[in-house]
């Protein structure tokens, strides 16, 4: 919402109050909740431009289209200025930019110069050059009595333009008058009354106005003004509209816009000659079409209210008029429409048609239902003044919803909810100034222009915002005794631990988009949630896996020249039945760069992924010792270099391994990539410990003993199975089993491998004797034998 200071002063009497300057008004508006986005003063940039009279104008000796002017700027010494404007001539009074002045339109600083060999001491300016309009056909022509020598800023007078952000609850402030009312309530000036004296009708309204859709259009006030002469509106009106950022069109159109901007009251003027028969507010029929004033055709349906005549639709009610019956310069008779439309219907229609307009913005938020008469009289007066003609009686069809809401209010609520006790008489004053009526028992009657207010909390807001939020004292929240209690949930703690563990392992945490392209989703098996209105096709499907996002991030890093990329992300994967917390670590390229000690660069392999996976699972509290390495990691992986980690066959906690080369190719990656993905949701919750004390432990008195075993087994037997079998062979004595060799080749039969395991034995009360050691060894060999393992000699 934009308006100039002079416009505001049409409605706000600030008297001789020198404190009511633009700065003070701007600060007060923001304090009232009418947030100032900018205050611009076009004249501020015009201090270096002076009013000047052209004394002589002669042809430039070197250029046909240029003239050499002698210009009087009031200091007795005429200046020579070269000018290309066709209207430059002796006697013209215009605006001269002197050297040093900055042209507002382009930011150029003027300098003394020679133009085609002739000295020029400034520039005679056009309207556009000074940022005052679009006019650029010639230089500005001022009245002959304009004070030569004065600065143009002084001549124009300062008229700053405020740009105010109006929140959607304040349709009353979508007119300058409503803003003035708020300022007056806050003690800045006095609100001037609206002068909407009725214009007596000279004849009955000749148009039959009917309402068939009383729900969508409860009230339609109409009046014909005949014998008008349309044309450009006067300067003052054009200035008002321009300050609001609107383009003046013609007097009849400008007047309706002016009343909307000044009072928040949209209206429509039809060219009566283009109407046929009765004017009816009705529902559109499905498929009915109208070309709106913006030149676009809209297809309507039966949920939408329209204004139509016998020939068709002329107005998408409350949103935009039709092109056909709009006023033009030829218009001589107009039908004024001042109606009240149901806000919800306007909102739905506007959304359905994707059609926004100033009128819609006001109607859907709720215009003042008690302002129909004032609106039509204000419009009539302006049209008669500017365009002549004579007005009919007002035809009032239907009735706007005038019932006023009442709120049972307790002035103590200002303190209880608002935190500041405002004296009761001050509360009454504030509410009265805003148009509320407060009864002796504090029943508050809400003015018709405040559809947003319907409860006691709203009244508190009105009181507090006018009283001043600065007056609300900071009040400490009550604090529980003692130090703060822990608040994090187990899931939050797991995420934090995994995050910091991954960072400690050398991975960088990335955050990637929750939505990915359909192709990316398809690369990991397809997504389940597809946006109906994505911002782009790249961000369309909710990720079913974190892999596409991290792979794309890895590719970007590789494309930028990185040789080793370690990334992780902790985030949600989106499945049909919900969102699940997930961690993914990715390593691409070199684990180890070439080095003086390590030789050639080494690429990441599946065991790097396994190590990271187990490390993070451990930090997440998973029972790492009990996890089984199994297959079926999925199609994204290298089929021979990937695995899953499971607690029992059905409960998969994680997968890891090298990615499938075909997947990497699809992502444009040409280095090996290892990943480990953990389903944080699948990690069983730890049994809640009741305290901090750990089970009793004392280091054993006797030293542990190690024994090595080597077994020949079928090459297909997983080493992990053998180690597990060995470790479980004698649980009383074997505390650890560690595989230290996997050998195939000379001395090992084809199709077999030799696995060597170091077994750690912990004696209890007494040291092992030979017989005891042999008994344990026999158990180990027997356990390995169940997997087909044969002890090597």
């Amino acid at each position: 919402m934009k308006f100039s200071l002079s416009w505001l002063k049409d409605h706000l009497d600030t008297g001789a109050d020198s404190g009511a300057n633009a700065d003070a008004i701007a600060r007060k508006l923001t304090a009232l909740g009418l947030e100032i986005e900018s205050v611009e003063d076009a004249s501020a940039a015009l201090g270096a431009f002076r009013i000047a009279r052209v004394l002589t104008a002669e042809k430039h000796p070197q250029a046909d289209k240029l003239q050499v002017l002698s210009v009087d700027v009031g200091d007795g010494a005429p200046l020579q200025v070269v000018c290309g404007a066709p209207n430059a001539r002796a006697g013209l009074v215009g605006v001269l930019g002197l050297p040093g002045a900055v042209v507002p339109a382009n930011g150029m600083e003027l300098r003394k110069s020679a133009i085609r060999g002739v000295e020029s001491n400034g520039m005679m300016c056009s309207t556009r050059e000074l940022g005052l309009g679009e006019e650029h056909d010639g230089i500005i022509e001022l009245p002959a009595d304009a004070p030569v020598g004065a600065t143009f800023a002084d001549y124009l007078g300062s008229d700053p333009v405020f740009d105010v952000a109006i929140t959607p609850n304040r349709p009353d402030c979508m007119g300058v008058y409503g803003i003035a009312r708020d300022l007056a309530a806050a003690g800045l000036g006095t609100l001037k009354p609206v002068d909407a004296a009725p214009v007596a009708g000279a004849f009955p309204c000749p148009v039959d106005i009917r309402i068939e859709d009383a729900e969508g259009c409860p009230a339609f006030y109409g009046r014909v003004i005949r014998g008008v002469k349309n044309g450009p509106s006067p300067q003052w009106l054009q200035e008002r509209l321009k300050s609001a950022g609107q383009r003046p069109i013609s007097a009849l159109v400008d007047v309706t816009n002016y009343v909307m901007l000044a009072y928040g009251r949209p209206a429509h003027a039809y060219d009566l000659a283009k109407l046929n028969g009765a004017v009816v507010a009705r529902r559109a029929s499905d498929g009915e079409k109208v070309v709106a004033l913006n030149g676009k055709e809209y297809t309507l349906d039966s949920t939408m209210t329209v204004i139509a005549d016998a020939a068709g639709v002329h107005d998408v009610a409350g949103i935009m008029g039709g092109e056909h019956s709009g006023c033009s310069d030829e218009t001589t008779d107009v039908l004024l429409e001042v109606a009240y439309f149901d806000p919800a219907r306007i909102a739905r229609t506007g959304q359905a048609l994707a059609l926004t307009s100033d009128a819609r913005g006001r109607f859907e938020r709720g215009v003042d239902p008690a302002f129909l008469d004032a609106g039509i009289e204000l419009l009539t007066r302006l049209i008669l003044d500017l365009c002549g003609g004579e007005a009919s009686d007002v035809l009032r069809v239907g009735a706007p919803p005038l019932a006023r809401k009442t709120v049972a209010y307790d002035p103590a609520l200002a303190g209880r909810l608002g935190g500041v006790a405002v004296p009761e008489d001050e509360q009454r004053r504030i509410l009265a100034a805003l148009g509320f009526e407060t009864a002796a028992d504090w029943t508050v009657t809400v003015p018709t222009w405040r559809p947003d207010v319907d409860g006691a909390a709203d009244i508190v807001e009105e009181v507090i915002r006018v009283h001043g939020l600065d007056a609300v004292p900071s009040t400490p929240l009550p604090r529980a005794d003692g130090v703060a209690k822990p608040t994090a949930t187990p899931a939050q703690i797991v995420e934090r631990r995994v995050r910091r563990a991954a960072a400690a392992l050398g991975f960088h945490e990335a955050l990637t988009w929750s939505f990915i392209s359909e192709a990316e989703a398809a690369s990991v098996g397809g997504g389940f949630w597809k946006l109906a209105n994505p911002i782009s096709e790249d961000l369309k499907v909710m990720r079913p896996s974190l892999l596409p996002g991290l792979l794309s991030a890895a590719r970007r890093n590789l494309d930028r020249g990185a040789t080793s990329v370690r990334l992780f992300e902790i985030g949600r994967r989106y499945l049909p039945d919900g969102e699940y917390p997930t961690a993914l670590v990715l390593m691409a390229g070199e684990r180890e760069p070439r080095g003086w000690k390590t030789g050639r660069a080494q690429a990441f392999d599946a065991f790097d992924a396994k190590a990271a996976c187990l490390e993070l699972l451990g930090h997440a509290g998973a029972p790492v010792e009990n996890l089984q390495v199994m297959g079926e990691a999925g199609a994204v992986y290298h089929p021979g270099q990937s695995a899953t980690l499971r607690l029992g066959p059905k409960n998969q906690l994680a997968s890891f391994g090298m990615l499938h080369p075909a997947l990497l190719k699809a992502y444009g990656i040409d280095v090996p990539v290892a990943v480990a993905g953990i389903h944080l949701d699948a990690i069983p919750a730890r049994k809640a410990a009741s305290g901090f004390a750990r089970p009793h432990y004392a280091p054993p008195a006797l030293q542990a003993v190690t024994r090595d075993f080597a077994f020949l087994v079928d090459a297909a037997v997983p080493a992990g199975d053998l180690v597990r079998a060995v470790k479980g062979a004698d649980k009383a004595n074997i505390v650890a089993a560690r595989l230290f060799d996997d050998f195939r080749g000379q001395g090992v039969p084809e199709g077999q491998k030799s696995l060597a395991v170091e077994v750690k034995l912990q004696p209890g009360e007494k040291s092992y004797d030979d017989a005891a050691l042999k008994a344990i060894a026999d158990k180990v060999v027997a356990a390995a034998g169940k997997l087909g393992g044969v002890l090597r000699g």
């Binding site: 909740g33 608002g418 939020l469 929240l477 604090r479 929750s514």
Partner: protein, 366 residues
Amino acid sequence: MEQLEQQQAETLGAIADAATPEAVEAIRVAALGKQGWVSALLKTLGGMSPEQRQSEGPKIHAAREAVTAALAERKGALEAAALDARLAAETVDLSLPAPEAPKGSVHPVSQVMDELAEIFADMGFAVASGPEIEDDWHNFTALNMPETHPARAMHDTFYFPDKDAEGRAMLLRTHTSPVQIRAMLKQGAPLRVIAPGRVYRSDSDATHTPMFHQIEGLVIDKGIHLGHLKWTLETFLKAFFERDDIVLRLRPSYFPFTEPSVEVDVGYTVVNGKRVVGGGGDVENGGWMEVLGSGMVNRRVIEFGGLDPDQWQGFAFGTGVDRLAMLKYGMDDLRAFFDGDVRWLQHYGFGALDVPTLSGGVGVKA
């Protein structure tokens, strides 16, 4: 006996000349070995008369001790020299690079969320969460935004074609506020929670991305008013920026889910072209920057949360986590947050051990 003295002198001389441990050993065998001359002399003691033994014994023993000592000394000296020579040969160039452990990092958004959790935990707020794929009841209706509410249109909502079991339209939550409803329905009152998380709006430029992070705060209790809200936000921002000169400006505003509604600006000054939070904004080089939206929870929202608004009232606030991170740690392009550029993460990320604590300070100094 002259023979003894001569032999001793020869042996000691040979020891002194011995150049290798093997030569020393050969001398030891020749002198002290079973067939050695010292051993032979010792054996003669048994056949001597007591008088003779008294005069010769000490001499023989002295010779043995002198040879033994000389052998040990020479052996030690040779070993030391050999060690010196070996160590000299083992010299390495320690200006060569040592193996480097890869350094990882925690994303600024995660770090700031941890900081916020730490600060608000001290004020008694737990951390709550909710789904990002929401239904329009939780995201709008229960927050007092019925279907035709103009504020809905301002949210640039991403929709799914899907409906939930109750026929509600599914969408990506446009704010963390639906967690208010979920927390009230689940936990009842009194209640103090913060809810950080991802939110989505169809908007994109240098300061807007279609996905970003918000944090919501909610207090429901008895006798909570706007003054408590003001204190909470002041206290939080002072703790977060670790500055006592934080000045807030509260402006009346409008959110459907709060009444009264308040937008909160924080004062800043421009230092070296960057905004530095602190001080009032009405000074030269200063300004006010909107950082939070907030207000007293609307009665209808409390009702939708299953609570009695005549009994309970409270406040809610929301702010952008990414923005807070940018303000505190100096990033200026939001889009870089979601690129995964390792160089950016190395620069703006945080160490694994930079765990925010109240005693150590929640922030990490540059």
